[in-house]
């Protein structure tokens, strides 16, 4: 079983000390990426649940700058210590309750005191207490605890705070403060320089009228910045002045508070002044002070990174990022930082110019606005020959993602528009279909009308060029079915033919025509044109499929299935009468069986025999997706389990699983194997050839190496072996080619002019070695300087000649 398509942006990434690696929390693992190439180098595997924090151990002295150690914390309640260069697990500490956030202040302040004996290392972890949750539901289950990492145990009795929900802890760059926010309250603790198990904390609280969403500490001064849901940024200066001066004793200032003394500061908050900046229109997600403390970076849902000059409040922008920002992390290298975008992408920025260097992207999440058409259509499409995944994204693109390499291949802009997060959606890419050989893609986009004016459905065909594997637009068809929306597109496996079925009551068969114009011009003009139109009693056509050999076209006309000859457009037969409109049709491999699925209040999965034109067997299942294998007579369905039907007595494991994947043989209604999966709503399922190969290879190899790919609603995928029994020893291995090492960094001369040509030492040396002079050192430097070999080389000769003389003297 192989999983992939992890979210890269679930928690902030971390740079290694030399800024050449980026550690990203990806589900249960931590992936290490090279910042110079953007490719994955290695992976830290060991956690059993989502990793929530990764902290790179900073170098304690300049010599140990190449140290590659990190701490990770995960929801499985374990803290692990890794050498990520190897990669190797060093230590594991079991906390017991899931950790949502972890900071280690002593790592940052440690560098100051570099005497031989290291004090104990303390981490502050935001844990979620699971136990009391069952007893009283609305209790404070999130708590900030202290953990002695050296002794690998929780420090008893130190609970800094209890909150309703575990959030994240923010740490100041100096390691002096840690803070957290909950609703309209900021809590800040000052960590004493000598941290030990029993130590008092100075505690500061700051209040605001809106809920906080971000928090940042100034690296040197007592300045705290916080963002709220309305997009305001509040900056408190001189935070905790009083608390510190009075040695932790809080002074109740009461009513005699002088408003002019503390402009903008609410109530009795401990700060000198508070200023508010308002540029963001919606909530602020990112706040970060630059390392010198002169600038403040902020970002939010608009997808704009704003750089504020802290003293003047002047702004600079990195606009049009195109997706909400989640994190901003800077690296030890001052010219490099990274932003994490909500569309599962991490981008590396060259810093002062804020220019995007490269992107590390995972599968784009499903669009929040994309209303799924009734019936099928998670939107995700598999291509079984190349093992690719086509994902329609929010910004009107289709992303191609390799299932086996677990990385993005390319992106295609479907409609020429820019996406601005937060805008009202007026265009959506409804359907994507890729032909079995991967040479053609077809997309459907819909423009939504403004008060009934100007809705438009357009069908686009894209051709893949064989050289660079990029899709280019081949044909645009406006309103292919009049006003009717398109329910499905199917490609014929054997020829360049496609069918689009419409809710408007007809289907159209499209063929690709070739026009190679005159002999001396090699301009090839290919395009798709309508070959035939068919309809059945004006019923809405809801699904379509070609048989494996391409001889039969099946189109579902609401509740019946019509079978057509695609070439001559003749209605061959009409079968079936289901209770609900059929939402999916699929021929099983090259066998004579057809699978139809209908959803709604009375869902049904039916297997039809094409020879007898009758039902073979059927189930009452709410089927989300159907996948059929290509050669064999097996197929798999992804069925949703209705919670209502669920019996309380079923196993606990079933509770978490909302869906089930069933693998059937067509002749037998008993499933061959079963998997329980979660987040099945909006998921997809397909058989994929385990290794991408060309057509002739396919002919000789058996269908054995087909694997079942399942992608869930959150766009994480799993590759399953269809032969459930031997799930452990899969017949294929993941050919994951981590790029071995980051490329050598060029600097100085080489970065400008490239490498110097290789200088061969041997040729140049010959004239000198053959010189039979006693006093080489005398003649060596005679001659024009341009014909002399370079000085470093002469130097060694010169020294050698001196040595010789001396040895002769000794003799």
């Amino acid at each position: 079983m192989i999983t992939g398509g992890k979210r890269f942006v679930s928690s902030p990434p971390a740079f290694s000390n030399d800024a050449k690696r980026l550690l990203v929390c990806t589900g249960n693992t931590v992936s290490v990426f090279s910042t110079s190439t953007g490719l994955q180098i290695s992976e830290l595997e060991g956690h059993e649940a989502q990793v929530t924090s990764v902290i790179v151990v900073p170098p304690s002295s300049p010599a140990s700058k190449l140290m590659c150690y990190c701490w990770t914390a995960s929801l499985d309640g374990k803290i692990k210590y890794w050498d990520f260069a190897a990669p190797e697990l060093m230590t594991t500490i079991d906390i017991g309750s899931s950790i949502h956030s972890m900071v280690i202040p002593s790592l940052l302040s440690q560098s100051a005191e570099s005497n031989g004996k290291h004090p104990d290392l303390f981490a502050y972890i935001y844990t979620e207490d699971v136990k009391p949750r069952e007893e009283k539901t609305d209790c404070l289950c999130g708590q900030i605890q202290k953990c002695n990492l050296t002794k690998s145990r929780i420090v008893g009795g130190v609970t800094l705070a209890k909150t309703r929900k575990p959030g994240s802890i923010t740490i100041s760059p100096s390691g002096k403060y840690i803070g957290t926010y909950e609703r309209q309250k900021l809590r800040i603790w000052e960590i004493p320089e000598k941290d030990s198990e029993h130590v008092g904390y100075k505690k500061i609280r700051l209040h605001h009228t809106k809920s906080f969403t971000a928090l940042a500490f100034h690296p040197t001064e007592r300045v705290v910045a916080a963002g709220d849901v309305t997009g305001r940024i509040l900056i408190w200066r001189g935070v905790g002045h009083k608390t510190c001066l009075n040695d932790g004793k809080l002074i109740r200032r009461g009513l005699n508070k002088d408003a002019e003394d503390q402009p903008g500061v609410r109530d009795d908050d401990d700060a000198d002044s508070c200023t508010t900046w308002h540029w963001h229109s919606s909530q602020v997600n990112v706040l970060f002070f630059s390392s010198d403390g002169a600038y403040l970076y902020s970002g939010g849902r608009e997808g704009v990174l704003v750089v504020w000059q802290l003293d003047t409040g002047k702004k600079k922008f990195l606009p049009r990022i195109g997706s909400p920002l989640l994190y901003f992390v800077n690296s030890p290298d001052p010219s490099l930082s990274s932003i994490s975008r909500a569309d599962n992408q991490i981008q590396l920025l060259r810093m002062p110019s804020m220019e995007i260097l490269r992107s590390i992207s995972g599968i784009k999440p499903s669009s929040s606005h994309m209303e799924i058409y009734e019936g099928f259509g998670s939107g995700v499409v598999f291509n079984h020959t190349s093992g690719l995944l086509a994902v329609p994204t929010e910004n009107y693109r289709v992303q191609f993602y390799s299932l086996f390499d677990d990385r993005e291949i390319s992106e295609v802009q479907i409609c020429e528009r820019n996406y601005q997060p937060g805008d009202e959606i007026t265009v959506k890419v409804n359907l994507v279909a890729v032909s079995p050989d991967g040479s053609t893609m077809s997309t459907v986009e819909t423009r939504l009308p403004e008060e009934g004016i100007g809705n438009l459905v357009s069908l686009k065909f894209w051709a893949c060029s064989s050289q660079n594997k990029h899709f280019s637009l081949s044909t645009v068809i406006y309103e292919p079915h009049g006003d009717g929306g398109i329910s499905s597109i199917a490609f014929r496996p054997t020829s360049h033919m496609a069918v689009s079925s419409s809710y408007g009551g007809d289907f159209k068969v499209w063929v690709r025509r070739h026009e190679i114009s005159t002999e001396d011009q090699t301009v090839e003009n290919t395009g798709w044109r309508c070959h035939a139109v068919g309809s059945y009693k004006k019923k809405p056509m809801t699904a379509s499929a070609f048989s494996g050999d391409g001889s039969v076209l099946a189109v579902a006309a609401e509740k019946v299935i019509t079978l057509w000859d695609p070439d001559r457009n003749i209605l061959l037969s009409v079968i079936g009468d289901s209770l609900e409109p059929i939402t999916s049709l699929s021929f099983v491999g090259k066998s004579e069986y057809l699978v139809s699925a209908s959803r709604g209040s009375d869902p049904q999965l039916t297997i039809w025999s094409m020879l007898k034109l009758c039902t073979t067997w059927s189930y009452r299942l709410d089927v989300e997706a159907v996948a059929s294998s290509f050669d064999k007579s097996t197929f798999a369905v992804l069925a949703l389990i209705k919670p209502a039907k669920h019996m309380e007595s079923t196993e606990a494991s079933l509770h978490s699983a909302e869906g089930v994947i069933l693998l059937f043989n067509v002749e037998n209604p008993v499933p061959l194997s079963t998997w329980f999966v979660s987040k099945a709503q909006g998921g997809g399922l397909s058989f994929v050839w385990s290794s991408p190969k060309s057509e002739d290879e396919v002919a000789e190899t058996k269908a054995f190496d087909e694997v079942l790919a399942y992608i869930n609603g959150a766009h994480e995928y799993v590759l399953l072996s269809p032969h459930g029994e031997q799930a452990s020893n899969l017949s294929f291995s993941r050919h994951r080619n981590f790029s071995s090492l980051e490329e050598k960094e060029r600097s100085g001369y080489a970065s400008i002019y490239g490498e110097l040509p290789e200088f061969s030492l041997k040729i140049d040396q010959t004239p000198f070695t053959s010189m039979p002079s006693e006093k080489t050192w005398k003649t060596m430097f005679s001659g024009p300087s341009h014909s002399l070999p370079p000085l470093p080389k002469l130097c060694s000769d010169f020294l050698e000649s001196l040595l010789e003389r001396r040895s002769a003297l000794v003799e």
Binding site: R320, I321, I356, R417, N418, T426, R447, S517, T518, Q521
Partner: protein
């Protein structure tokens, strides 16, 4: 990062006709020069029986019609002079290889020889007992002989200076109507006759018998040598045949795309304007069906055909491939001239000039020269250089710029002021996507509203835009009813609009009626 996408109109289906090929562009580029288009002299009133070009520049040409022939200047395409020294209709004309003499036959059987410059009547060659339909000078270098053929089915070979018939070539059994001299040999020529035969003659053979005989199977109207001298094209009936003479008179191809008798053939050349490809030879054939066809005999394919309103009798193509002349039975000359250098007198000069031009560039550039500041800017990339292309600049129209600044109403007005309805519709669609169209419509002032209504009146009934615009019209009228009522001008617009819509409805109704009539018939036809 986001890019800038200018607003683009919807794509339109390209017409089924493919883009014109380079060859058809070439043949279309023979146009009647504007300055002589209207001169009436182009119409000669009588059928133009033959056309011949002078082989030397500037390639004057002669057209025979009725009892005279006219020589046209190859430079200006104006008639230079007309000779009327014929007692009967002139039938054929031919220039000598140096272009100085011109021979023409007439229907009495006499062959006349003129000085092409002074029009002096130099010689009268009398011998044919019937009309001399073919007169032809040898093409290569022979200046003293010519041959003629006549309705007495004899082909005569003349010594021009002595006005004496050297050889009587016998063999044809019907009128000799056409002939051509070999382009490679002065002694070889070919004649075609109404007895369906084409005979190849060689005057070196003393027996006065043809060296080869080809059977065209139709009365031969025209015969030409192809430039190699080894192939012959014959025309007669509705078809043109290509023969290989060297290969023993083998038929290579029969081109049968004319619908009426092919009357004349001539050689044409397709030369690329850029000169990147070698000139290719074509056969031009004209026929009584009014078509001129261009035939590529290397590929045996018609590469171009052109329709004329009259039956065509003769065709000529200048050796410098700049002029194409077609004569009709109505006496109209279709003269086509391609743009190009008429004079290509001295080719040696530009090369010499180029060498001279190179010289000053060697001078050392100093900042006192203007060119100093341009040095290196015109450097061309070498063969192996890796080119880094400058990113293409996106062109933004005014409405695009306004849309970028979110000034929606201004952009709508800007595009309405433009002429292109497609762009207007594209901007309207973009505004719909931004959900700002109706706000724009409400914000328009009276003048701008008039602009919009004018546009809607013009295009809302156009099928391509109707789906969008008719709904928009409804909305506009609904939203701005009061403004429209208060202004006379706007009411005028609405009146026009109403009239157009009513008209369109009438059209649609009649179309529906027609559909009602046709559809049962189609159904019946489909059943059979």
């Amino acid at each position: 990062m986001a890019e800038t996408f200018p607003v683009k109109p919807k794509l339109r289906p390209t017409s089924g006709k493919s883009t014109p090929t380079a060859e058809s562009k070439y043949w279309k580029s023979f146009k009647i020069p504007k300055d002589i288009e209207t001169t009436p002299s182009k119409s000669l009133n009588y059928p133009i029986t033959s056309l011949s070009f002078s082989p030397v520049a500037p390639h004057d040409f002669a057209a025979t019609h009725s009892a005279s022939f006219t020589v046209f200047s190859g430079k200006t395409l104006e008639p230079k002079f007309t000779v009327n020294d014929f007692s009967d209709a002139a039938a054929s004309s031919s220039f000598r290889c140096d272009g100085k003499l011109l021979a023409a036959g007439d229907l009495t059987g006499t062959v006349h020889v003129f000085d092409a410059k002074s029009r002096n009547h130099l010689r009268r060659l009398k011998g044919h007992s019937a009309a001399a339909r073919v007169v032809c000078y040898p093409r290569a270098a022979d200046k003293f002989h010519l041959f003629s053929g006549g309705d007495d089915s004899v082909v005569k070979y003349w010594d021009v200076a002595a006005e004496k018939c050297v050889l009587n070539l016998l063999g044809h059994k019907d009128y000799v109507r056409c002939g051509d001299a070999s382009p490679v040999s002065d002694d070889m020529f070919v004649s075609g006759s109404y007895d369906h035969k084409v005979r190849v003659w060689d005057v070196r053979v003393s027996s006065a018998v043809s060296v080869a005989e080809l059977n065209h199977e139709k009365p031969v109207e025209s015969v030409i040598y192809l430039p190699s001298g080894g192939l012959i094209a014959t025309a007669g009936g509705n078809f043109v045949k290509i023969w290989d003479v060297i290969g023993g008179g083998k038929l290579l191809y029969s081109m049968e795309s004319h619908n009426k008798t092919v009357t004349a053939l001539c050689m044409g050349k397709v030369g690329r304007v850029g000169g990147d490809e070698a000139e290719q030879n074509r056969i031009l054939s004209v026929s009584l069906d009014g078509y001129m066809k261009v035939f590529d005999y290397a590929k045996f394919k018609i590469t171009y055909s052109m329709r004329f309103p009259h039956p065509l009798l003769s065709v000529g193509f200048s050796p410098d491939s700049l002029t194409r002349v077609i004569g009709t039975s109505k006496g109209i000359l279709y003269i086509g001239r391609r743009k190009g250098k008429v004079e290509s007198a001295d080719l040696g000069d530009p090369v010499a000039l180029g060498a001279v031009e190179d010289e000053p560039q060697r001078r050392v550039l100093r900042p006192s020269y203007f060119r100093y500041f341009h040095r290196g800017q015109n450097a061309k990339p070498a063969e192996g250089d890796y080119l880094i292309k400058r990113p293409k600049k996106v062109k933004l129209a005014e409405y695009d710029k306004l849309l970028k600044k979110f000034r929606h109403k201004e952009s709508l007005v800007a595009v309405l002021n433009g002429k292109n309805p497609e762009n207007v519709v594209a901007v309207i669609e973009e505004l719909i996507l931004r959900k700002k169209l109706l706000k724009c419509v409400t914000n328009l002032d009276a003048e701008e509203l008039g602009l919009l209504l004018g546009f809607l009146q013009k295009y809302s009934t156009m099928p391509r835009y109707a789906g969008l615009l008719t709904r928009l019209v409804n909305k506009v009228v609904e939203l701005r009813a009061e403004d429209i009522r208060s202004s006379d001008q706007l009411r005028g617009h609405i009146r026009n609009l109403k009239r157009d819509v009513e008209e369109e409805i009438r059209i649609q109704q009649s179309l529906l009626e027609i559909q009602g009539i046709i559809s049962p018939m189609l159904r019946i036809a489909a059943r059979r």
